[in-house]
Symmetry: C2
Subunit: 280 residues, 2 copies
């Protein structure tokens, strides 16, 4: 069965649009983009377009690629202090001369729409509700729930240990009582590990790494990876054609996890808006 | 081979004592204990005794068991602001009417000697150096290193997912390139999982849960669990007699991980002292 992320995301966006219409002011997300990375520009434009469709405000702040650490931190301070800004997103990757971690730590945790601030990551880990949680892992779990796929007591193998996907996803799944294994580039005999998993979640960014040999019969396969073929086609970590008949559920690329990420981003924006309102 | 935690801890304490003697002022740890839990009192006394042996200051603050949330938070604020206090430890468990998480979040992260503050937990997770890290997991890794037991690419199964041991240990081992599985009370067929592990780390608190059937030949077995027999004897999670001939390395209880925890606590105290000095 193919998991239709596009459809689930659409339902969430419609719900959010309704919720936003009930508000007396518009939730506002500020997106900072440094330099001219073409993929980043595409993502930022897409986020802005969707935010506006929902009736939110979206402000895009374009900064030169030679922006200094201090200039970027000052900009974040300014946004932190501006009560009209509810959510701050710094589009990654940043140019190499900038310290990404320090930038993220500069964002007020209550405006950290990506859930990357250590305060939010730490709260997620210890089971205290964070202001927001990382969008892609949150989207993965929402997909599993939408299709009533059990998480509790399942053996789940996450391939990839990034701060954006693998690690927060491990925290979230553990909190949902899964038995979680995190595998990665230094894992030996990785297939022997994924073959035992009830659910395999691939978040590596290596095109078509995973074929049907990697999974057991009826496994659930979630594909978070995105890479591009030389012809510019979007490719997942999973060889969909090879795996689709063996898996019980599988997400396609595109149209699987991708659309959920942006839906979760806008859900986080609304959530932060509400939290800030409560605090006033 | 039996891992001698007592000996390794002793070496660390001797090293710390030397380092403390070189300082012009004494690192100071403040330990707050609320109520009269007898085990807590024993632990607090032990920590104080060891700190003083190393030439540190140790202040124990005893508060009534009906202390309010506000009184405890105010006390922490006072310690946060006192420049003579380098490290703050709130002895757990707290009486039920107090919100442990909120108390921990109140501690200034640079004085959080247990590494429990979300900021420190989050930094550990994302690979940014925390001010301090949880003592027991740090002690476990130090033991593995002391015996030159490889961590990279090993399949490591942690049993138990507490905020104090299981979760931070998973972060640390993942950062050391292990393939990490976290199992717990909701894990099914747990023996099938531990039987495949190169290293099994038990942190459950269930006396002699693990016997030789749980582990593969030559596995490394680390026992973090502590419970008490009806006669008051300290028991680990591992049935030592059953496992010792099958394992390649094993920690005893007592004399394994326990002594390391307190050594790491005092190492953290010195580290926080040095960090605070640098910031002045």
């Amino acid at each position: 069965m193919i998991i239709d992320g596009k459809k689930i995301a659409q339902e969430i966006l419609l719900y959010l649009k309704d919720e936003v219409q009930k508000l007396d002011t518009k939730p506002t997300i500020a997106v900072i983009i440094v330099g001219q990375n073409p993929s980043s520009k595409i993502y930022v434009n897409l986020k802005q377009k969707k935010a506006i469709e929902l009736g939110m405000n979206s402000i895009v702040i374009e900064m030169q690629k030679d922006t200094t650490q201090k200039e970027l931190e000052d900009k974040i301070d300014e946004l932190n202090q501006n009560p009209e800004i509810n959510a701050i997103l710094v589009q990654l990757p940043l140019p190499k001369h900038l310290d990404t971690y320090k930038i993220i730590e500069k964002i007020d945790p209550i405006k950290d729409v990506d859930g990357f601030h250590p305060q939010n990551v730490g709260r997620l880990s210890i089971g205290l509700e964070p202001y927001s949680t990382s969008c892609t892992p949150k989207g993965v779990i929402r997909l599993l729930d939408a299709y009533n796929i059990d998480i509790e007591s399942k053996n789940i193998v996450i391939i990839g240990r990034s701060n954006i996907v693998g690690k927060p996803l491990a925290s979230m799944l553990l909190a949902r009582n899964a038995t979680v294994t995190v595998a990665h580039s230094k894992t030996l005999n990785i297939r022997a590990i994924t073959q035992r998993a009830d659910i395999v979640i691939a978040a590596v960014g290596s095109a078509h790494l995973i074929d049907s040999d990697w999974i057991k019969d009826k496994a659930v396969v979630i594909d978070v990876g995105i890479s591009k073929s030389p012809e510019g086609k979007l490719l997942g970590d999973v060889d969909f054609e090879s795996v689709k008949d063996k898996a019980s559920y599988i997400t396609p690329v595109p149209g699987g996890v991708g659309p959920m990420t942006i839906a979760m981003l806008l859900e986080n924006t609304l959530h932060l808006y509400n939290l800030q309102k409560e605090q006033k």
